[in-house]
Symmetry: C2
């Protein structure tokens, strides 16, 4: 295992220290655990937004803590749900008395632990609610998941719910818009190669020399099938076909697109894939309102990418365009 680390058992705390030392104007570490908290949280009068999950998906979720997006990100061990205690501490850090919304990716451990934290916080009199993101159309049920998995589309939930909360909306309103995003977003990914979880020290799955996996999850969970590698055009067309089979988008409707790198796929290749995404949607008469290309939700050094498509309306467009100032996403 070749990695730029010190002790495999300290990678998450070393990373958090490295983040806080780099960006003290954005984030601080909670005194009560591995939680990245917006520097000025709790923000007076604003609903608090908490997300998180296992580490190893950077910039998710700590990179999206800041103005216009999240108030805290709970950092579990690599590919491991954070504990209920950790989530509970995060809720307390961001609660300004206006309630806290938890944005959970649909993995059984995450859902269970975030729900338990909600109950703990409610016993303290804090109003807490949550949404569960399940944008991955690849497979129903999976290793670690009942139902669909939550993947890169979650970042759209952070952005749009964050903008709504920043406008001073109530917890109910923020939850409603988060659920609108969840209803309108679909994603699917593929992998060219595995990654190595530091504590395990070996690749989390294997692929043959010319083999790729379609529909792979962000922890290396099996996808729909393996196949021989083909072209960027063919692979991307397959991903989009699966997405569009699952969500109705009429001609002239507007969408946001995210082409997300899983860790070691060069930006060059993500843009080559985006050319195909753009051509397919344009040929169908679907209007692309804006496009995000880069690393938003990774799987350490896994090679591969996912495509997410979010169907927009006027409210979602306005919230997507609103100012954001975080390490992983800045909108001027």
């Amino acid at each position: 295992m070749k990695k730029i680390i010190n002790d495999p058992s300290n990678v998450v705390s070393d990373m958090i220290q490295g983040i806080v030392l780099a960006h003290p104007n954005y984030v601080r570490k909670s005194d009560n655990g591995n939680i990245l908290v917006r520097k000025d949280a709790p923000v007076e009068g604003k609903v608090g937004l908490v997300s998180g999950g296992g580490s190893g998906h950077e910039p998710s979720h700590g990179g999206f803590v800041g103005y216009g997006m999240l108030d805290a990100a709970v950092c579990g061990e690599v590919f491991t749900s954070p504990t209920p205690d950790q989530v509970y501490e995060a809720i307390k850090e961001v609660n300004s008395g206006n309630g806290v919304l938890l944005i959970i990716k649909n993995y059984t451990g995450d859902v269970m632990n975030f729900e338990m934290a909600k109950e703990m916080a409610e016993m303290d009199g804090i109003e807490v609610d949550y949404v569960v993101v399940n944008d991955d159309v690849a497979v129903e049920n999976s290793l670690y998941t009942a139902g669909r998995r939550g993947i890169a589309g979650t970042v759209f939930v952070h952005k749009i719910a964050g903008a709504k909360a920043t406008q001073g909306a109530t917890l109910k309103q923020v939850k409603e818009v988060a659920n609108k995003v969840i209803k309108n977003v679909r994603s699917m990914g593929m992998a060219l190669s595995p990654c190595i979880v530091p504590a395990a020290g070996k690749p989390n799955f294997t692929l043959e020399e010319n083999e790729i996996e379609i529909g792979m999850g962000i922890h290396g969970e099996p996808g729909t099938h393996k196949e021989e590698i083909s072209s960027a055009n063919d692979i991307t067309t397959h991903l989009i076909d699966k997405i569009l089979a699952d969500v109705e988008i009429a001609e002239d409707e507007e969408v946001a697109v995210m082409v997300n790198g899983l860790g070691s796929t060069p930006l060059m290749e993500l843009y080559i894939a985006n050319k195909t995404v753009n051509e397919i949607l344009t040929n169908k008469g679907i209007k692309i309102y804006n496009t995000f290309v880069g690393e938003y939700m990774t799987s350490l050094e896994m090679a591969g990418y996912s495509v997410s498509i979010l169907k927009l309306d006027d409210e979602l467009k306005e919230l997507l365009d609103a100012k954001a100032d975080t390490l992983g996403l800045k909108i001027l």
Copy 2:
């Protein structure tokens, strides 16, 4: 070779199309070649800034085209200097009559071809000048280079010269501040694994199972030596020692730090390295004014990272903080 591409011979043009389709509000493609041009160039009254080089280093350089940074980036074939004609076309695209500054990384082919383009543009009556960035302290002379190589520190030149030009400075003033950055910036990198240039189809160098290369260039040029992998602390300490042996930074002086990923190194590991950078500099009494962690100048999917340190004064701090709105770097 597993890559998300169509035809290896079209990767650069496919990428450029993918970029322009994704970000039409930022960049357009020149009608006269593989050049990414700021959408609103030439900008009235402003010195034009042109950089570029071989492709495969994304987001360098096209990702730094936009408000407050570059006006155009010339995109050569992968790891190959752009032609004089290409650079000449870029100069014409950005010239508003106030002169054009070329920011060249020190590779023999780049320097030769950018200089030739300067002469071609001067015959058209365009005032052109240039600076050469040679921030890599690893080795004197190298494959492709007489003198030191230019690597990730170049992005500081783009940022600061771009801010100066945006303020309405003259060509002479923009060149002066670019040269101040070049005088004050030092970098050094290391690699854990090679990358595959699409047209070659095989790795550009080899390393043993537990071997890393110290001082590796961004095209896989040899560094100072190979060694067995050690800890993030030890490797980072070595890089900083080499940098600080080459530039005098007194106690209480301020610096900007860049921890730059070469392509497949997870953000987690870059932040772990940054923890060490921060500790070493802080222990020496050097003040870190700000820190950039991420992928700024990559080598396709090479694994590894570089550290850059830029010594600051009041002018450089103000220009570094100035607003920028590009795909690869946004400062609000």
